[in-house]
């Protein structure tokens, strides 16, 4: 952009119209509503706001929301990587079908995933019954929250890792193998360093989505206060109790967290680009 200008010159028409509409729309749909939430939260006296944010029940919900989201993103980092690897490196019957299925959690409404998981994993369900025999209860426990978040986060990891795996230099792998490197060594020294930024991006995206997830969790979690109650659900409960200050405080906290997650995602992607730039320029 030319220094000192607000808009770089262009022969194309429609700049004022499209930017004007975009700005108006974003103001009405994002800025104004979020301002209403932030201002409502800051109308609460600071001491009281702090009290609402650090109340025992709220703290328990943060631990569950953040802990389960991190654990689920970690599980997805491992299994999502294996799935992405299978889809990119192996040819097998049904590969394209499986590839298309990866986006199912994006396309399936969260309420549908929620009741389906609750049914499959309930003690009377197909999998829940087997797991109950082994002494593991998934539905209506924290494990259930993690299972729902693994489902929701899966496409983020697979779709981040797939293109990176395609980009791995196969000639480097061949060279390493011909020099006597074992499979594990090739993985650790060549494949993992190339894919790591994409894996980190996928992890962060899955984690961010997991913190805010609501629909797929509330059916399988049992929603016990202090035990299996996630933060978004606590916001809904505060609203239903007409505790607007409590809802505003928690909503503000979650909004601030989302901003931080967006910054984190940008930072991870920037780190990945710099890192790959270094690798490519070796």
């Amino acid at each position: 952009m030319a220094r000192g200008r607000i808009v770089a010159p262009s022969p194309l028409p429609g700049f004022g119209l499209t930017l004007g509409f975009t700005t108006f729309f974003l103001s009405a749909v994002v800025l104004l509503p979020l301002a209403a939430l932030v201002i409502r939260a800051f109308e609460i006296p600071p001491g009281e706001l702090f009290g609402l944010l650090t109340d025992e029940r709220a703290l328990a919900s943060y631990r569950l929301s953040f802990g389960a989201a991190a654990l689920a993103a970690g599980i997805n980092a491992v299994f999502g990587f294996i799935v992405a690897w299978s889809l990119v490196r192996y040819d097998f019957p049904g590969r394209r079908l499986l590839d298309a299925m990866i986006d199912l959690p994006f396309a399936l409404p969260t309420a549908v995933s929620g009741i389906a998981l609750a049914t499959v994993f309930s003690p009377a369900g197909w999998l829940g019954g087997q797991l109950a025999l082994a002494g593991v209860q998934v539905a209506y426990t924290r494990v259930g929250v993690v299972v729902a978040l693994v489902l929701i986060g899966l496409p983020f990891v697979v779709r981040s890792v797939q293109p990176a795996l395609i980009d791995v230099h196969r000639d480097l792998e061949d060279a390493a193998e011909s020099l006597g490197a074992g499979g594990l060594q090739v993985f650790r020294r060549i494949i993992l360093p190339t894919v790591l930024p994409a894996l980190a991006t996928g992890f962060t995206l899955a984690f961010a989505r997991g913190i805010g997830e609501y629909g797929s969790i509330v059916f399988i979690s049992g929603n016990l206060p202090f035990e299996t109650e996630i933060t978004p659900l606590l916001i809904v409960i505060r609203l239903e109790q007409y505790d607007y200050a409590g809802a505003a405080a928690l909503g503000f906290f979650m909004l601030a967290t989302s901003f931080l997650m967006l910054l984190a995602i940008n930072a991870v992607q920037g780190w990945g680009q710099r890192r790959l730039g270094l690798v490519a320029g070796r």
């Binding site: 975009t22 509503p33 009741i115 978004p232 909004l255």
Partner: protein, 284 residues
């Protein structure tokens, strides 16, 4: 491109260890996806048809369920066109021009995807609720926004508007605007240029964005749940109807409605795959 990589693997001789690894990893992938994706999908279909096709049909034909289906279709009929117009306008401004504050606008477009859907509902309560900014004004004029269709539409717009824009922005940035500039310099009017040059260039990306947006709109639960008021037959969308029926232990009916939404999801995936395939063979 994924197929190319896979064929390359098939062409090279595999050692025994490599073959063992391959089978182990494929087994893990199949087991993981089977448990996570197929089992729930199968459960939806099995439960929906637990009383046979007649039971399924009877559940769908319940008046409250029909009302929920109509409300979901109405919401999509309003929200998807609005988001499409926004997506095209935003992509035109962002992809075709350089201006200050562009990254701020891009961040604001990304924000709804990072925020919990519950927040999208909550902010509307603070705007239009009885104690909200416009609550008193609306009350005086006897206009119902919260716990009515307007709030359902607004909440759905908040969580779904980025989809078309995010599909179009990278596509239009990559395509550049040489053809448009050529058409304009030859005397074409701006609107003609847009319809004859730009729209055909972006049509597959646009369709893709609209499909994703529609799936999110019809399936949204958290945001709509906060503002709907859950009035049966009036403000329940399909996902909310699923919740109510499920909580009343009417599992066949709940899963019958859920099976419609699952079919929508599968259609979305098929359409998405076709569009991807089409845009790859045609070449953008």
């Amino acid at each position: 491109m994924a197929a190319g990589a896979a064929i390359a693997t098939g062409a090279r001789p595999m050692t025994r260890a490599a073959r063992a690894t391959r089978y182990a990893l494929l087994a893990v992938s199949f087991a993981f996806l089977g448990l996570l994706l197929l089992a729930p999908l199968g459960a939806v279909l099995a439960q929906a048809l637990a009383k046979g096709f007649g039971g399924w049909l009877a559940s769908i034909a319940e008046p409250d369920t029909v009302a929920a289906i109509k409300l979901t279709l109405l919401t999509a009929a309003i929200v998807v066109p609005v988001n499409t117009v926004f997506g095209i306008a935003a992509a035109w401004a962002i992809a075709r021009f350089e201006f200050r504050g562009k990254s701020l606008i891009v961040t604001l477009i990304d924000l709804p995807l990072a925020v919990s859907p519950v927040i999208a509902g909550l902010v509307l309560v603070f705007l239009f609720g009885a104690q909200g900014w416009f609550g008193g004004w609306l009350l005086d004029r006897d206009v119902q926004v919260l716990f009515a269709v307007p709030a359902i539409v607004l909440a759905t717009i908040i969580i779904s508007f980025p989809y078309v824009a995010r599909e179009l922005i990278p596509l239009m940035q990559q395509q550049g605007s040489d053809e448009e500039i050529a058409a304009l310099s030859l005397g074409a009017r701006p609107w003609t240029t847009f319809v004859r040059i730009t729209l055909p260039k972006i049509r597959w990306g646009l369709l893709y964005g609209v499909i994703l947006c529609n799936a999110r709109v019809m399936g949204e639960f958290g945001a709509v749940s906060v503002v709907s008021g859950h009035i049966r037959g009036v403000t329940n969308t399909m996902p909310l109807q699923v919740e109510i029926l499920y909580n009343e232990y009417d599992f066949v009916a709940a899963f019958a409605v859920a099976s419609l939404l699952a079919m929508l999801a599968i259609l979305t995936l098929i359409a998405k795959t076709l569009v991807e395939w089409r845009s790859q063979t045609v070449g953008s």
